[in-house]
């Protein structure tokens, strides 16, 4: 259809205005522009608007994608979505532009004599299948592996798990969500026996106080942060930013409290100490619904290959727990945490006030932590002691960073120990999976193999020979990166990478497969609040690009698993989803039917009797509660949640005379994770073109460093030079530096440490020792 240049420019101008209005609404909740201007905004024009969840973070905003002449040309927030209520952040607004970068991968590439040669998809898939069969024949089933991500759609992860765990019979299935929320999973499992938040985003509309635990929501979850700011305008809620660095979140918060790295463990215990000391414990709730336990301490940090740890929980009395907390009075914790006793008491008083509803929110701060499971447990302790949980506005809430970290990695179970329902170690769970997958139960190995860091270590050692990496960029994100980059280049390793753009990870591939992205195929994502959202295929993928789901099915068929991978190309997503739902039947985890997901902006599991469940474990809202009480923590056999006694322990590598600074890494609002998509969106790339190192202004002054000067960072793993940022976006505390990881030309993970939480096996990207000097 012809579109005049005038009309097109006019339309684009209106879109530019709308982008700005959206950005303003994020920064200034309640902002109003002249109504005549709003009336000029495009009402759709020739566009066909279709609903989808956003491609980027784990918030899972509902968006409407404008399709014109077979191309996605515009995005707006879906006003029908309860997640974002029509809002979008700057990344979401530009998300369709990520599909149209000039260097999209459109053909399969096979490395021959050191050079990539274009080949047909058929030939590339033949090669992958034959290489996998040959590797299994020569080295056994555990020599092949797949590494996916929280950006896998639900069908992608499901067929990956079915192929590797059910058909091949190896548990070498992992996903990058191990690097971002494994501690949240083990936190939930140890405290409640079942994964994922009990509450939902609607808690924001009910809470009086928000405590953000190491969570820069203004940049990482801007739409939810905007909802909180809106509540502050309407109801005067309080926002407390509890962090190691001053950020945009700190500046917008009512109070910013900075703690020294790793001491959040001590502060959380001090809050519990105060709650008990001041008589703020909800005794009847604790007596009815909680047990108290302790586990093994001094677990180590997983720095050595083949490190193993199994906790040994032991029941303790309330009195024993109270005695343990004597070491964590605010006055004692003040000395190690850098926070005044007054500020600790200030936080505790909000948790303890029976008239205040309170939300704790966190993401990478507590999760990327060598005691990540513990700090998750400790935040739950605060909510359990006060009984402020599973009711509207009283909500400990761990957020995620990827669109389907929950939906695919946690719910489908694309981790070495997991199955779609339950774990490989459990006979009944293996039997259920085998029945649905139509494989002999003996196929499913009862022993987990490698978590992510150990999987790459196994590749380095040669225990793994073949790795298929889909929709993730580990050659930017692995900690202590050089070891794992070198591992991929070793003789006898075969690496397949499925992606949409060239990245440092495609650089190490033997075969590169071009993938279809987001609305170029059909699929579903699951967000942080247990909401499963469907999207249809809206446009065609470029060239020979193919969905990751169909790539896996094609290879599975070539390997002889036609019976299990019976799906038809036209209907395979529906067939896979319906098969997947069978794993979650029952009131605790039932998934909504596909027709429901197609008709509305998602549904929250457990989806029972045609209704989403907003608050789990609360009999008023959750049909799975069956103990006749107000609350039922049915993830545990006795229906009780666990308050864990977990001490403060130091980080594995702390600053010393040689490496006197803390190094913290993280993200920026403009770029999503490794930037492979957002750096191809001109406006976002221009706004944040390269990496940098943030310094505290006093440290910078002492070293005579100004913004833009080169700074050399050195750790025990390596060194690199970055431009300085002083008093720019974020301000680290004295003797701390911060570096974002989005820039593939400044690979900060060459410097980070591969220590991890012994329980969750999630690495700590927030703490290691570094030397900083003017270069």
């Amino acid at each position: 259809m012809y579109t005049s240049v005038t009309n097109r420019r006019s339309f684009i101008k209106k879109m530019a205005i709308m982008s700005a209005m959206t950005a303003a609404a994020t920064m200034f909740p309640g902002v109003m522009f002249a109504s005549e201007q709003e009336q000029k905004l495009p009402k759709g024009g020739n566009l066909d608007w279709k609903k989808a969840p956003c491609r980027f973070c784990g918030v899972g905003c509902g968006v409407l994608v404008g399709i014109e002449e077979g191309k996605a040309v515009a995005v707006k927030g879906d006003p029908k979505s309860s997640v974002n209520k029509g809002l979008c952040c700057v990344k979401g607004y530009h998300s369709v532009m990520a599909m149209y970068g000039k260097d999209r991968l459109t053909k399969a590439l096979v490395k021959k004599n050191g050079k990539y040669v274009e080949t047909s998809m058929k030939e590339a898939l033949d090669l992958i299948a034959s290489k996998m069969k040959e590797t299994i024949k020569d080295h056994g089933k555990d020599s092949v592996s797949i590494y996916g991500s929280g950006q896998w759609t639900i069908p992608d992860g499901y067929v990956a798990s079915k192929l590797f765990k059910g058909c091949i019979g190896t548990n070498n299935v992992e996903a990058n969500a191990r690097l971002c929320m494994a501690s949240a999973v083990t936190g939930f499992l140890t405290s409640f026996g079942i994964d994922e938040p009990m509450g939902c985003y609607e808690d924001i509309d009910h809470a009086d106080v928000f405590v953000l635990w190491g969570n820069n929501m203004a940049e990482m979850h801007p739409v939810l942060f905007s909802r909180m700011l809106d509540q502050r305008l309407k109801r005067g809620v309080k926002i407390i930013d509890f962090a190691t660095r001053t950020t945009r979140t700190s500046m917008a918060a009512d109070k910013s409290i900075l703690f020294l790295p790793q001491t959040d463990l001590a502060v959380a215990n001090a809050i519990c100490y105060e709650i008990i000391k001041n008589g703020w414990v909800n005794k009847s709730f604790v007596e009815k619904h909680c047990n108290i336990k302790k586990g093994i301490t001094n677990m180590g940090y997983g720095l050595e290959d083949k490190y193993k740890f199994t906790d040994k929980p032991e029941e303790i009395s309330f009195e024993q727990y109270k005695e343990f907390l004597e070491d964590y009075s605010p006055e004692k914790v003040e000395k190690i945490s850098g926070i005044s006793a007054k500020d600790i008491k200030y936080m505790a008083s909000y948790y303890g006030d029976p008239n205040k509803k309170i939300m704790s929110l966190w993401c990478m701060g507590p999760n990327q932590h060598t005691r990540g499971t513990w700090i998750n447990n400790l935040i739950y302790n605060i909510h359990l002691l006060t009984g402020k949980i599973s009711t509207p506005g009283n909500s400990p809430f761990s957020l995620t960073g990827q669109p389907s970290a929950c939906g695919t990695v946690r719910e489908v179970g694309t981790l070495t120990h997991k199955l779609p329902h339950g774990v490989v170690m459990n006979k009944k769970h293996r039997e259920l999976a085998a029945k649905i997958w139509d494989v002999p139960v003996e196929n499913i190995d009862p022993k987990p193999t490698y978590h992510t860091v150990e999987m790459f270590r196994a590749l380095d050692r040669g225990d793994i020979k073949f790795m298929w990496i889909q929709v993730t960029n580990p050659m930017v994100t692995m900690p202590k990166l050089k070891r794992y980059r070198d591992a991929t280049k070793k003789e006898g390793r075969f690496i397949v990478v499925s992606d949409i753009y060239p990245t440092p990870t495609t650089d190490i591939a033997d075969v590169i497969l071009p993938s279809a992205m987001w609305v170029e195929r059909e699929g579903m994502y699951g967000n942080s609040e247990r909401r499963t959202q469907y999207f249809e295929q809206m446009v065609n993928p470029p060239g020979e690009a193919m969905s990751d789901t169909w790539q896996l099915i094609e290879v599975a068929k070539r390997m002889g698993f036609e019976k299990q991978f019976y799906y038809k190309e036209e209907t395979h997503i529906e067939e896979i989803y319906n098969e997947y739902r069978r794993h979650h039947e029952g009131k605790k985890h039932a998934m909504a039917p596909l027709e429901v997901l197609k008709s509305q902006p998602g549904a929250q599991w457990p989806y029972v009797d045609g209704k989403s469940t907003q608050w789990r474990f609360n009999a008023k809202y959750d049909p799975a509660c069956s103990n006749g009480e107000e609350f039922h923590f049915y993830g545990k056999k006795d229906g009780k949640a666990i308050i864990w006694q977990r001490p403060y322990e130091p980080a594995p590598e702390e600053p010393d005379t040689e490496y006197p600074y803390w190094l913290c890494t993280g993200r920026v609002i403009e770029h999503w994770h490794t930037g492979s998509m957002t750096r191809r969106i001109p406006v976002l790339h221009k706004a944040m073109p390269h990496g940098y190192v943030e310094l505290n202004p006093n440290d910078a002054k002492r070293m005579q460093i100004k913004t833009g000067d080169n700074v050399r960072l050195t750790t025990r793993r390596g060194e690199m030079i970055l431009p300085a940022a002083v008093n720019e976006r974020g301000v680290p505390a004295p003797m701390q530096v911060f570096v974002p990881f989005f820039d593939e030309n400044m690979l900060i993970n060459d410097l980070t440490l591969d220590a991890f939480c012994p329980i969750s096996k999630q690495p700590d990207y927030k703490k290691c020792a570094v030397k900083a000097e003017k270069a």
């Binding site: 579109t3 097109r8 420019r9 530019a16 205005i17 700005a20 902002v31 406006v683």
Partner: protein
């Protein structure tokens, strides 16, 4: 043919001055917020050279505290 939108933040008490100064520029549309100290600015130019000129003019405005680009579209002529 770049089209760009920005959020413009005025210095304290200078919102009206900023509106007037921005409105005086060619190829520049201004949409002030009714209830907040922020303005939307959209520039619509025919070439990179014109774009550079208007950027310089914007940066020279003294009542402007901060100019943050929100979106940039480069529209090719479509026959």
């Amino acid at each position: 043919m770049p089209i760009k939108s920005y959020l413009a933040h005025p210095h304290n008490g200078q919102k009206e001055t900023l509106i007037q100064e921005l409105s005086a520029l060619k190829n520049c549309e201004v949409i002030p917020a009714e209830n907040k100290e922020v303005l939307i600015v959209v520039t619509d130019t025919d070439s990179k050279a014109e774009e550079d000129i208007i950027k310089e003019q914007l940066e020279a405005i003294t009542s402007l505290k901060l100019l943050a680009m929100v979106s940039g579209f480069n529209t090719p002529i479509k026959n």
